[in-house]
Amino acid sequence: MKKMAAKLLEELNVDTAFTIPVFGGIEIAESVVITWVVMAVMVLLALWLTHGMKVHNPSRKQVAAESIVRWLESFVGGMLGENAQEYVPWMATILVFIGIANISGVFGVKPPTKDMNVTIALALTSIVLIEAAGIRRKKVGGWLKSFAEPIAIVTPINILEIAIRPLSLCMRLFGNVLGAFVIMELIKLVIPVGVPAIFSLYFDFFDGLIQAYVFVFLTSLFVAEAVE
């Protein structure tokens, strides 16, 4: 039992993958390295899919690339609304990235989104995107005024939301992925064969993709609200 607990704790740790020996050693976390792998997979996939595209007689590969891009754009674009279409590529990229990161546990690595550094980074980019979209749309004056809407008394709450929104985005993603990861590790420790595969369908694939969707959906919703 003690051994099990120790093993579980070890799995939960965010290890340092390697240390860059400058400024007294910059420790690069495991999650960052796995993020690189996810990025490499996505970029190589994109390069492969879009290689040798033609206007006429598209290959099956190209048809797949076109339908993936169209699907992503209509899916994310529908959530962002017509005023925020310029943010569609970013949100689509984030959706695919979180999706792949969440199910990367299936391949035996620790999902990057299990590391709070990654979810904090994602949440920070989201809140910056939300507020920047608001400022771009309404100019600084209109953006500041929007804090006092719909009535002036909610201004403190609206200001608090700048912190609450990214915090909830970050914690929801982190908690779900960590929880799924813990459960999966426990199942793997108790019954190593067969059963984890079944549970993995739910905890890795279903929950992972749902969380990617929820993250992108909420961010898109806030952006759509900001540019209204």
Partner: protein, 157 residues
């Protein structure tokens, strides 16, 4: 277990790089193709519309010229008809005039001939009377004179 440090910044950089790469290699590339295709479709639609516009213009032009030709045709038919009518009238009146002239000339001639005949008959009768009178004067009897006169007349007829 929880670890929050500068890896946040690395992740943000990762995300920005990933966004840039995906935009460059996936979205832009696919959109280039989609836009080109859209442009081609738009162009072919435009071409088709232009062709049909041209055809319509030609058709209306053709209809216009057909109308002109029809009008020209009608006009020349009317013209020819009226000219033929005028010619007909002229010919008929000419013929009438000429025939009345001929008739009157013939009448005159016939009258002249009749007058001539009358005059000759008068002359004949006068000369016969004169002859008869001469004979009467010369002959011995009235009866023989009378018979001679009758013989004379019979011989003439």
């Amino acid at each position: 277990m929880l670890r929050i440090d500068y890896n946040i910044i690395f992740t943000i950089i990762n995300l920005l790089v990933l966004y840039w790469l995906m935009k460059k290699f996936l979205f832009k590339r696919v959109h280039n193709i989609l836009d080109q295709r859209q442009a081609e479709i738009g162009k072919s639609f435009e071409d088709a519309k232009k062709a049909s516009d041209d055809a319509n213009a030609l058709k209306s032009q053709y209809e216009e010229s057909m109308k002109t030709i029809q009008a020209e045709h009608d006009r020349s038919i009317d013209d020819a008809k009226s000219r033929a009518n005028a010619e007909y009238e002229r010919i008929i009146s000419d013929a009438n005039r000429r025939s009345s002239e001929i008739i009157s000339a013939a009448k005159k001639r016939a009258d002249a001939a009749a007058a001539e005949e009358e005059r000759r008959a008068e002359d004949d009768i006068a000369s016969m009377v004169k002859e008869a009178a001469g004979r009467i004067a010369a002959s011995e009897s009235d009866s023989s004179l009378y018979n001679d006169f009758l013989k004379e007349v019979e011989g003439q007829e």
